[in-house]
């Protein structure tokens, strides 16, 4: 158990270090000079050089990297090249927005996938199971942004039940916050839910074929109670793995969905940063996303152990 924890932590730290080098490296080779974009193209070379110096872009890449990483470790994300505002608070601000979206979408996906997948598995040879299965296939095929556009067309433009886009912080107006959250969370959640349903289905199917479940049935338990009492925890292990991976997909999906729904989250911050060549900001946001994904995977690893006692014994 301890060994596993140490091992996973080591993997996490190494991944983070490698990721930071990669993120920094990509930014360094990106074409386009942030100083020139800020000053306008007709700016004199001297003015550009002066601004590069101000940004610290004239230093060696190694120094820039060490400074950047050192700052990050101390919680200092630096100052944006373009808006001249501290980046840390901006990311924190936007991350909250994205987090609401991702967590709600995750809940939608789970609430949808767990029962649907289980029913599909339990009835996989009956019409109802097949119908659900076909529906989930359709869901898998639709990208989140398209789902978003379709939902907007139906529920906002045609029916006028919900706002087409926008974002209100929950503290400002909780009612509006919920209204505006419904459609984006659904478009992300429905698609992820469809994908997750497939995994739940196959995990439950596997479990259904296990000896211990047959034994439980033989004892006289009805199919669903048997599955509930003996199967679900076993089926959860592969599903949790997928959930971890899906969280990464959700964060990426949020970038696109935020654009469709005009939500000022991390994704829109990232896109703006790229087009303004606000490289430090982009670097920071990407790094935050990478850390989020790696940490989630790390937690998922730990969660296995909690779910599956066999993993607690050293291998």
């Amino acid at each position: 158990m301890i060994l596993r924890l140490v091992e996973r932590t080591a993997v996490l730290l190494v991944s983070l270090a490698v990721a930071s080098v990669l993120v920094f490296g990509f930014m360094a080779v990106l074409p386009g000079d942030p100083a020139r974009v800020a000053l306008g193209v007709n700016a004199s070379d001297e003015a550009v050089a002066q601004l590069r110096q101000q940004f610290g872009l004239d230093r060696s890449l190694a120094t820039q990297y060490v400074d950047w990483l050192g700052g990050l470790l101390q919680g200092d994300f630096g100052t944006s090249y373009v808006s001249k505002v501290a980046i840390g608070p901006q990311i924190a601000d936007r991350f909250q927005v994205t987090l609401w979206l991702v967590v709600t979408a995750m809940i939608v996906a789970l609430v949808l996938a767990a029962p649907a997948g289980t029913v599909m598995a339990a009835r996989h040879r009956r019409i109802s199971g097949l119908a659900l299965s076909a529906l989930s296939q359709l869901g898998v095929a639709v990208p989140a942004f398209l789902a978003g556009i379709l939902l907007i067309m139906v529920f906002a433009v045609k029916l006028g039940w919900l706002p087409a886009n926008g974002w209100t912080p929950p503290a400002e107006d909780p009612g509006m916050f919920l209204k505006q959250l419904v459609l984006p969370a659904l478009s992300l959640g429905l698609v992820q839910g469809a994908v997750l349903t497939r995994y739940v289905r196959s995990a439950v199917l596997d479990v259904l074929r296990e000896d211990y479940l047959r034994t439980a049935r033989a004892k006289g338990l009805r199919p669903f109670p048997a599955l509930w009492r003996h199967g679900l925890r076993n089926a959860a292990v592969p599903v949790v793995t997928v959930l971890g991976l899906q969280l990464a997909t959700l964060l990426i999906g949020a970038v696109v969905v935020e654009r469709v729904f005009v939500i000022p989250g991390l994704g829109s911050l990232l896109l703006d940063g790229v087009s303004n060549r606000d490289l430090l900001l982009v670097q920071d946001v990407v790094m935050v996303l990478v850390v989020a994904v790696l940490v989630v995977n790390f937690l998922v690893d730990l969660l296995y152990v909690a779910l599956d006692p066999r993993l607690r014994v050293s291998r």
């Binding site: 020139r36 800020a38 306008g40 193209v41 700016a43 003015a47 808006s83 001249k84 911050l269 087009s275």
Partner: protein, 504 residues
């Protein structure tokens, strides 16, 4: 050339997707207008969000679009028909040698930090362009020799040489008047004398302007105007359809207009802008040294068909670098009429048939769609065209604009009166023409009649020389709630004029 301050194409960033330019106020603050509409508010949907609020150090059209004319005043401004009219200067005179301008200033203007506006602030603002501004626009003040406060309400500016361009530039952001005690936090808390004061900025979402109750002119109707930013044109349209916003400030995709024209809840306003969509030639490339090749390309393009395909037929064909709102506008579309046979023959005579041209496009919707049409039409007269796309702004700016590593490109030049800036040996067009230089110099130094006359000649010169091809002029397309009044028809200044908006 110097007095045509070269400027950013970041401007086009401006162009960003289409004209972000927006009109300016005809009704000056002191005349006419509507009575304030109590605490009514209004939300306008726009495309490009500013990266900062400080246009003295950050380029791009999105900043003056919000602030100029609304939060900041200039001494003078441009009205919707293109005329230079009073703003903080009630009147002005020009000395006989055309080098000294004397401005009589209003005496009741106040900055939102409480300080009164005086000639000393004007001197401070003009000098500050030279000392503190970092964007390339600052070159507009190079021609100023001295700015002097004669009295609190009289300002005298002496130029090193006569320049009509200078007074015109004073209508743009370079002419914005700042408070001597209000330039500490320009990027986040602008201080001006305008009809609105800066309220708040939710980054990534919106900027709120509040009515300035201490405004020296006619106070605006709306208590609060929110400018909300949408990167996605469909989201922008949906926001209007569902009532989240009241105005679509710049329509990105004209083919989507039908959903509004057929609906009685909305009005569609169509006017002109300064945004010339230019098919630019790299005039330093050997193939473009031959005027016959340049002319053949212009004649090979069926502009009407092109406009129908790539901008849903909206917009205006112009034939040179002058929009209809400039006093020296002439319809020059007949200089190079569409003639496929002639174009083919000319190319053959020049020995350019079969030549391969690289059309390097910025990743902007209009450039992408027009690029396809240009390619197909040029291939019909015997040229080979390869298209590649460069990410806009950064990659395009470096490759095409800075390094001139291209044969042809398509970009909207949205800056006002930019003929001299764009057709210039140092600019990415690499257009080296002494005749044009002397025409422009004469226009800048002369009186009004001489200016108009020489600018007409200059516009004709570049059209006849086929220094580039002008695909069309971007229309100003605005969709708004039916009962809104005071929206500008033409968008020819750097500002989105909010001063005359009202609800009937």
């Amino acid at each position: 050339m110097k007095s045509y301050p070269t400027r950013a194409i970041a401007l086009l960033g401006a162009a960003l997707l289409t004209a972000t330019v927006a009109a300016c106020s005809a009704g000056s603050g002191t005349s006419g207008g509507s009575s304030p509409g109590g605490d009514q508010s209004l939300t306008i949907g726009l495309v490009a969000e500013p990266a900062s609020l400080d246009f003295t150090t950050t380029d791009g059209a999105a900043i003056p679009q919000v602030l100029l004319g609304n939060v900041y005043n200039g001494l003078v401004k441009q009205d919707e028909s293109g005329k230079i009219v009073p703003d903080l200067a009630k009147s002005w005179t020009v000395s006989p040698d055309r080098k000294t301008y004397t401005f009589e200033l209003v005496d009741n203007a106040k900055f939102t930090n409480g300080a009164g506006f005086t000639a000393a602030d004007a001197v401070f603002s003009i000098n500050r362009v030279k000392t503190a501004w970092t964007t390339s626009l600052k070159a507009a003040m190079d021609v100023v020799q001295e700015a002097k406060a004669v009295s609190p309400t009289q300002l005298q500016v002496t130029l090193t040489k006569p320049s009509n361009g200078w007074l015109f530039r004073m209508t743009t952001r370079v002419g914005a008047m700042f408070s001597q005690t209000g330039v500490e936090k320009l990027a986040s808390d602008p201080v001006g004398t305008g009809p609105y004061k800066f309220g708040s900025w939710k980054r990534g979402d919106s900027i709120v302007l509040q009515r300035n109750d201490a405004y020296w002119g006619t106070k605006p109707f709306f208590n609060q105007v929110t400018l909300k930013y949408f990167k996605d044109p469909t989201a922008l349209n949906n926001a209007l359809l569902t009532g989240t916003i009241n105005v679509v400030g710049t329509v990105q995709a004209p083919e989507a207009l039908t959903q509004f024209t057929s609906n009685t809840k909305y009005q569609v306003i169509e006017g002109t802008t300064n945004g010339e969509v230019v098919l630019s030639f790299n005039n330093s490339r050997p193939v473009f040294k031959d005027i016959r090749v340049r002319q053949a390309i212009r004649q090979a393009i069926d502009h009407k068909a092109l406009l129908d395909t790539c901008f849903a037929g909206r917009g205006k064909l112009i034939g040179s670098m002058v929009p209809p709102t400039d006093p020296w506008y002439e319809d020059l579309t007949s200089v190079a009429p569409f003639d496929k046979a002639k174009a083919t023959a000319e190319l053959k005579a020049a020995g350019a048939t079969g030549a391969t041209l690289r059309l390097r496009l910025p990743t902007l919707p209009y450039a992408t769609s027009c690029g396809q049409v240009v390619k197909s039409q040029l291939e019909q007269v015997g040229l080979k065209v390869t298209i590649d796309q460069l990410e806009f702004p950064a990659a395009w700016l470096t490759t095409v604009f800075k390094n001139a590593d291209y044969d042809m490109s398509i970009i909207a030049h949205v800056e006002p009166r930019d003929l001299g800036a764009v057709f210039n040996a140092k600019y990415y067009t690499r257009y080296d023409d002494p005749t044009l230089v002397s025409l422009l110099a004469a226009a800048d130094a002369g009186d009004e009649a001489a200016q108009t006359d020489n600018m007409k000649k200059a516009a004709r010169r570049i059209s006849e020389q086929a220094a580039a091809d002008w695909l069309y002029l971007i229309p100003n397309l605005v969709v708004a709630d039916k009962n809104l009044t005071g929206l500008p028809t033409n968008a020819i200044t750097e500002s989105f004029d909010l001063t005359r908006l009202a609800r009937s």
